[in-house]
Symmetry: C2
């Protein structure tokens, strides 16, 4: 057992029942995968809230946002011969994948990092062609007083990475789709390196290659190039099926410490665990060390059972001296918290 996460005793700290739906009649199914940040002496979370219409026996339904901001629905009978249902997250009709829920972002605030008050209304919803199927899993990086949100923008054209900025968490500036499909898990570094902004991202496709972690650089945060693969999946290990960056890399004396998720295909589905990568301070495309064993894995009941079980997945953290306050999605359902020691993680990378 290598799990080094000291879970909050109050876990899960936010559940779907804590969330007011974004519109009358909608059901909140998941409140998870939060981005995290510090603002005004508080810890803020940008929760991913997944919603659907009330379930109808024998039917599956997907929702999308129209150009004028309305929600529209498509319903199919489960016994329709065109319909296949791989798992709770999606169904397929005539080869086209549909999501069973649509996600928006909701802010939650805390003085102590453990007890959060969730706002009543969305802070950001899908609002363009590239977000017609919602927004998901944002990472928040603060650079010189501005917060940057890198998030999954989901649409009928695929899922890519959107970028928005804010200074006050009220007004947001859209900076465009910075990575086209099929890409997600983008984590921006908190400072320029060698005069350029730097980011981790995770393209996916078929054939040669796989869902690996890549790096890119930018002069202006909007345009990205110099793509370079820094870590691949490892056959036979806990991160054999897919990997992806967590949130902004943590600057330590020994290098940039990046907590990442890795998934393995098991008989019941994917199992998501967390591990660490240590990247060179001057050239973060160089991997100094990588976890052999996971630093955290789904063991608590709220991590094992849920909308999609056996998942710990983090895209949000706040650093306090040696402590990482890790906010994470459990079982694709709940928001949880845990404390990890940076020293302990770094030591584990030396063995």
């Amino acid at each position: 057992m290598t799990d080094m996460a000291e879970r909050f005793s109050s876990n899960p700290i936010i559940t779907p029942s804590d969330i007011k739906p974004s519109a009358d009649g909608l059901v909140v199914t998941c409140a998870f995968n939060p981005g995290a940040f510090e603002f005004d002496n508080k810890i803020g979370l940008v929760l991913r809230i997944a919603e659907r219409n009330p379930a109808i026996d024998g039917y599956v339904e997907s929702l999308s946002i129209t150009e004028d901001g309305h929600i529209q629905s498509e319903i199919f009978a489960k016994n329709d011969s065109r319909v296949t249902i791989p798992d709770s997250r999606s169904f397929i009709v005539d080869g086209i994948e549909h999501l069973t829920t649509i996600s928006h972002f909701r802010l939650a605030w805390s003085e102590d990092g453990e007890n959060f008050t969730v706002e009543d209304k969305p802070v950001l919803q899908g609002s363009s062609t590239y977000e017609a199927l919602g927004v998901e899993d944002t990472r928040v990086t603060q650079i010189d007083g501005t917060y940057y949100l890198t998030y999954t923008a989901v649409s009928h054209n695929g899922y890519g990475v959107g970028l928005q900025s804010t200074t006050d968490w009220k007004e947001f500036t859209k900076l465009g789709l910075i990575f086209p499909p099929f890409n997600k898990d983008a984590a921006l570094f908190s400072e320029k390196i060698n005069g350029k902004f730097q980011i981790l991202h995770r393209p996916t496709g078929t054939g040669i290659g796989g869902p690996f972690i890549w790096s890119a650089t930018s002069p202006d945060l909007i345009h990205w190039g110099n793509h370079s693969c820094i870590a691949t999946t490892r056959p036979g290990m806990w991160d054999s099926a897919r990997i992806g960056a967590g949130s902004a890399p943590i600057k330590t004396e020994e290098g940039w410490l990046e907590l990442y998720h890795g998934a393995e295909v098991l008989p019941g589905g994917h199992k998501y665990r967390m591990g660490a990568l240590l990247l060179d301070l001057d050239d973060p495309t160089k991997v100094i060390a990588r976890s052999h064993d996971p630093i955290m894995e789904p063991t608590a009941p709220y991590e094992v059972e849920g909308f999609y079980g056996n998942v710990v997945f983090s895209n949000g953290q706040v650093v306090r001296a040696d402590d990482v306050l890790l906010y994470y999605g459990a079982a694709d359902s709940f928001t949880c918290g845990a404390r990890l020691s940076i020293k302990e993680i770094l030591n584990s990378l030396k063995s």
Copy 2:
């Protein structure tokens, strides 16, 4: 029959037997998918030359380039239970795709656009981690006296888009991987639009979305953003399975004319045809018109039969007044040429 391509009577104009292998012992299997350009009063082609070792009965083999520039080989028995062989282009071992050939670029020169002399040696070969499995299908765009090559860089990490520049076709400058996997078919516009460079590209993945044509912009050709989907596949039509840009869009009074390829899945495999897109001059993300029927399809014997039959695929053209001299790969084997009238294509887009 909507095919409006007047094929060269000498087609195929270049075949594998015209090509000297890049190293002793290698066999040239394909000489196809050329980029095209004008230089020094000549027409130049950047041929994609695919090579392999001599076939051994009962075995499949893939080649790759090591970091020090040597070619290494992996051989598997066809009856190995781990091996599956979807078609002539690739085989799969334990879920990992291997290519049966490795490609480099070779220059060919012509005074009349129809009779070409092929150089004896490669002009560019895979030469970095991102090209360990070769370089393929370059588009050439001339901007202010510099030629830019956007090409598919193939490696174990997937296929992305590499960029190199040259002014003399002898010395080349590498400008990095401009699009990470899984991306190809990148065609750069020949001038800035609203102060930015503009490009078409084709990401591929699984799930929601598909192999569609996207646009992006750049301040410096190296870093790209503002990704935007401009055309999707069309169910039930000749371009239902995948689409991708040809070479640099042609500036006409009515808009940017882009000749693109579309594939359809038929019982024997994919069939690749060519069509046209007309894009707004000031905002090329706006599609003014798109071919209902293909403007060219595989009909000649050299297009129907070959390494991978039923393919016409162009990534190179030279414009002379109203004529497009279209250079194209036929059946993934040969280089061919055809003449199309810009007026006739534009008229076909009005009906």
